[in-house]
């Protein structure tokens, strides 16, 4: 087990190196002189030199990358170009809990609904109910979020016009403002997880030990609950990584269309202001979220499934 975990840790280091190196390098290659941009019309060579030194831009790139990494290890994400001398972290720290909340709620919701839909579809295999559920799941999986959002808004609007209870379509803070964005963000994952869960269920249901359990007279319901479900849920752990990746890209669209002040929203704001350090930091944080999720999944899987430890 330790051998597997240490191998995972090694690949984790490689992933972290790749993410930091590429984010650094892309920003390093960014065209234009950020200091000149920042200073605007006031051409003061002393201040220019001061700022250039403050941002470390007078160093060779390898040194810049080194100090960038060093700063990262000390929890320093650098300084904003747009608001000189303000640390990036001060600009985005408010967005982190918002995005985290949104993402975790969406993940929990999509796991709940996705697993339920997948299990039901598998139990009803090859009936119209199975076909119906899987068609909806295929639609949720393949229709992009920016198409689902206006649809959800239109339904919400129709409810409002009919005098029925409806939800706010933008903003963040009140509990009712959370529901729509979480639903939309979860949509793609629900489809993805349901399809996986159905396959996993069907695969386990074909196993010999299920036939044995049936043959010794266990009621089907008990077999499903005790033998099929516990085995079919295991592979689901592996999708947490890809599911988080879905959420990260989805968060950009959802946060911007719903005007939610999370990481994705702040990133797009800073893009308009050419504030590269902020873009860099948000990219890094989001990539880290996925990396951490992947690592947690690996550890959980090694603990949950003894077969992995033997291989």
């Amino acid at each position: 087990m330790w051998k597997i975990l240490s191998r995972r840790a090694l690949s984790l280091l490689f992933v972290l190196f790749s993410v930091t190196f590429l984010t650094f390098f892309v920003s390093y290659l960014a065209p234009g002189d950020p200091i000149l941009n920042m200073m605007g019309g006031r051409q003061d060579p002393v201040r220019y030199a001061f700022l250039r030194h403050l941002y470390g831009l007078d160093q060779p790139w390898l040194f810049q990358y080194g100090s960038y990494l060093n700063n990262l290890l000390h929890g320093n994400l650098g300084y904003s170009f747009k608001y000189p001398e303000r640390p990036v972290w001060a600009l985005i720290s408010n967005g982190v809990p918002v995005s985290l909340q949104l993402g975790l709620l969406a993940l929990v919701f999509s796991l709940g609904i996705g697993v339920l839909a997948g299990v039901l579809a598998a139990l009803w295999q090859n009936t119209w109910r199975d076909t119906g559920i899987m068609a909806v799941m295929l639609a949720l999986y393949s229709v992009p979020s920016f198409v689902i959002i206006p649809l959800a808004w239109a339904i919400d609007l129709a409810l409002y016009k009919a005098g029925l209870p409806s939800l706010p379509v933008a903003g963040w803070g009140k509990p009712e403002q959370v529901i729509l964005p979480v639903l939309v963000l979860a949509a793609a994952n629900v489809g993805f997880i349901a399809r996986l869960m159905r396959n996993s269920m069907l695969q386990v249901m074909r196993e010999d030990f299920i036939r044995t359990a049936r043959a010794k007279g266990l009621p089907w319901r008990v077999v499903i609950r005790k033998h099929v479900l516990s085995n079919a849920l295991l592979p689901l752990l592996t999708v947490l990584g890809p599911a988080t990746a879905f959420l990260v890209t989805g968060a950009f669209v959802v946060e911007n269309l719903f005007a939610i002040p999370g990481i994705g929203y702040l990133a797009v704001q800073s893009i308009g202001q050419r504030d590269y350090p902020v873009i860099q930091a948000t990219t890094l944080l989001l990539a880290l979220a996925v990396v951490v999720m992947n690592l947690l999944t690996d550890i959980a899987y090694t603990i949950a499934d003894p077969r992995v430890r033997v291989e």
């Binding site: 490689f14 790749s18 992009p144 198409v147 890209t249 269309l257």
Partner: protein
């Protein structure tokens, strides 16, 4: 006695010779194929055909850039078949142009994907060793970024410069380049593993035994046997490229005004959904249909080439 071609032992070659027939019998895939062809034709010829149904002195009101102040946010009419947007620009022409942009970006990305991802995957799988090491680690580095993140970063950082240097086309090429950074590692990985399995087959061994060079083996044996995989993967990837391009444009990182993109059209009209729902739902329907069509076509191609897969 004569030797009949049908009596010869058949294998992969036979399967691959009849792929178009199986594709044709797959209803979802053939309808999707026809839809894709129609979309390509409309994107190419649609604007001109549509403009020329008006007398030539009026046709520029439908050029998709002309702002018809009498038709701002107008619904469908004889003048503007799908209405006009918030600046009075013709929606149908902008839709044609936007679909064209989606397809053009997808075309450029898949071109890079096939030549970069396909070739690198082939080389990595065939030669192994340090070449494989180099290519696979490079792909892994790009894989470290979840989803669109790297494309977002790249188009955010270089977007302004691309516009200043090369205008709208510069942005388009940048978007395509950024998106292919996300696409090619997957292609390379798929082609690499298929190459590994083809390489160990007997006919490759026989060919090497007869003294064929690496280049001959790659060109005569490996390439024909991984080509179907490349075609299937590229077709399936088009669906995600179309969504990704729209996402970038929606976030203000891709195609900019006055250019047209499905994502941009949805974004511009989303705030006025209540009053002018058509302006949102027309591009939304277009992108959904395009994505579904390419997915079904890709699935159909895969089943046609590899009937055992489903």
């Amino acid at each position: 006695m004569s030797l009949n071609a049908a009596d010869l032992p058949t294998g992969q070659t036979h399967v691959q010779n009849n792929w178009w027939r199986r594709l044709f019998h797959n209803r979802a895939a053939s309808i999707s194929g026809i839809f894709v062809l129609a979309a390509i034709l409309l994107a190419l010829a649609g604007p001109a055909l549509y403009q020329n149904t008006l007398p030539s002195d009026q046709s520029r009101t439908r050029d998709g850039v002309y702002q018809d102040y009498n038709a701002i946010n107008a619904g469908p009419s004889a003048q503007h078949w799908l209405g006009a947007d918030y600046l009075g620009r013709d929606m149908l022409t902008r839709l044609f142009v936007a679909v064209g942009v989606s397809l053009l970006v997808a075309f450029v990305v898949e071109f890079l994907n096939i030549f970069l991802g396909g070739l690198l995957g082939l080389l990595a799988g065939y030669f192994g060793g340090w070449i494989d090491m180099l290519i696979s680690r490079a792909a892994d580095m790009l894989f470290a970024f979840p989803g669109l993140l790297l494309a977002i970063l790249v188009s955010a950082v270089f977007g302004t410069a691309a516009r200043e240097a090369y205008g709208g086309m510069g942005r388009l090429i940048l978007v395509a380049g950024a998106l292919s950074l996300v696409s090619w590692p997957l292609m390379a990985r798929l082609v690499r593993s298929e190459t590994l399995s083809v390489k160990s087959r007997d006919f490759v061994m026989a060919s090497r035994g007869l003294g064929a060079s690496d280049f001959q083996i790659i060109a005569a044996h490996l390439l024909p046997n991984v080509a179907w995989l490349i075609a299937v993967a590229a077709t399936l990837d088009v669906a995600s490229v179309i969504v990704n391009e729209a996402t970038l444009s929606l976030l203000g990182l891709g195609i900019e005004e006055p250019g047209a993109s499905l994502g941009l059209m949805i974004f511009r009209a989303a705030g006025k959904l209540e009053r002018f729902p058509l302006q949102v739902f027309i591009p939304a329907a277009a992108i959904t249909l395009l994505v579904l069509a390419f997915s079904f076509l890709g699935d159909g191609l895969r089943d046609a080439f590899d009937p055992h897969s489903s």
